[in-house]
């Protein structure tokens, strides 16, 4: 498990231990990776982050069109492994969690401990101003810096 923000490590480690998730990605709504567990290639992280952020943006727009509040979580149940995508508020802005899990755990367990992780993140987050939205001209530089920090290359 690797995290760009050290205060994320504790809650994320607890979540990973309790939920038995195979892969986990925490990112901002613009797709900037904050922490990851289980990914071995930076390309996979980039792809997952971009797709996850896109899916959340699409579902939130769909919810708006339906006159509903935001969807809490999106779960895709597969035969060998499943995927949960959930956006949540933190003191550092709105983040997205992408969790891939297998039949050794359940969607109920993953959601239960994910919610607990969100609560713990809110408690341990440094009280600083939320980060401003990423500018297009800085995106690639920021992305490369994040991936270098997460994968060491």
């Amino acid at each position: 498990m690797k995290a760009l923000e050290p205060w994320v490590v504790g809650p994320l480690e607890t979540f990973l231990a309790e939920s038995a998730a195979r892969l986990t990605l925490l990112m901002t709504t613009s797709g900037q990776v904050v922490a990851q567990h289980g990914f071995s290639r930076s390309l996979d992280v980039m792809t997952a982050a971009a797709l996850g952020a896109g899916i959340v943006a699409s579902t939130e727009e769909l919810a708006r069109l339906m006159g509903a509040a935001r969807f809490e979580a999106l779960v895709h149940n597969g035969q060998r492994q499943s995927c949960m995508l959930a956006a949540f508020a933190t003191p550092r802005g709105r983040w997205i969690g992408l969790v891939v899990f297998g039949p050794e755990t359940s969607v109920g367990i993953v959601r239960l401990f994910f919610d607990q992780m969100v609560q713990q993140l809110a408690v341990v987050a440094p009280r600083e101003q939320a980060q401003p939205p990423m500018l297009a001209e800085n995106f690639e530089t920021e992305l490369n810096a994040s991936l270098k920090a997460l994968f060491g290359r």
């Binding site: 755990t105 359940s106 969607v107 109920g108 367990i109 959601r111 239960l112 919610d115």
Partner: protein, 115 residues
């Protein structure tokens, strides 16, 4: 009143029962619930579903039939689970002074009616 609500009514009428849920064991999600304040249905469903899954796999590994009823006893009460058809499990959260014998009888009968 639906079958599920009838089942939950029967179980929650037993003295000492603080709440009852029907859960989907594999997913660990709540199907229906009747709970007193302070009982976290989401946590009860997730953790009981996980427990049931592990106990069923343990029994299968030991070449035994899956359990029909599970009683998890703690200092402040118990969690009871009766396995029903179609991956459904009837769960009751009971206090320390609950009538466990009556709760067990009601749950085994009620769980068989879940479908």
């Amino acid at each position: 009143m639906t079958t599920t609500q009838t089942v939950l009514d029967r179980v929650t009428r037993v003295p000492g029962v603080r709440g009852a849920l029907v859960i989907a064991a594999t997913d660990g999600l709540v199907v229906a619930e009747q709970l007193m304040d302070g009982v976290d249905g989401q946590a009860a469903a997730a953790l009981t579903g996980s427990l049931v899954g592990r106990l069923v796999r343990t029994a299968e590994g030991a070449a035994m039939r899956p359990p029909a009823f599970i009683h998890l006893r703690g200092d402040g009460g118990s969690v009871l689970a009766a396995l029903g058809p179609d991956d459904l499990v009837l769960v009751a959260v009971v206090g320390p002074d609950a009538n466990l014998g009556l709760a067990r009888l009601e749950m085994l009968d009620a769980a068989s009616r879940l479908a």
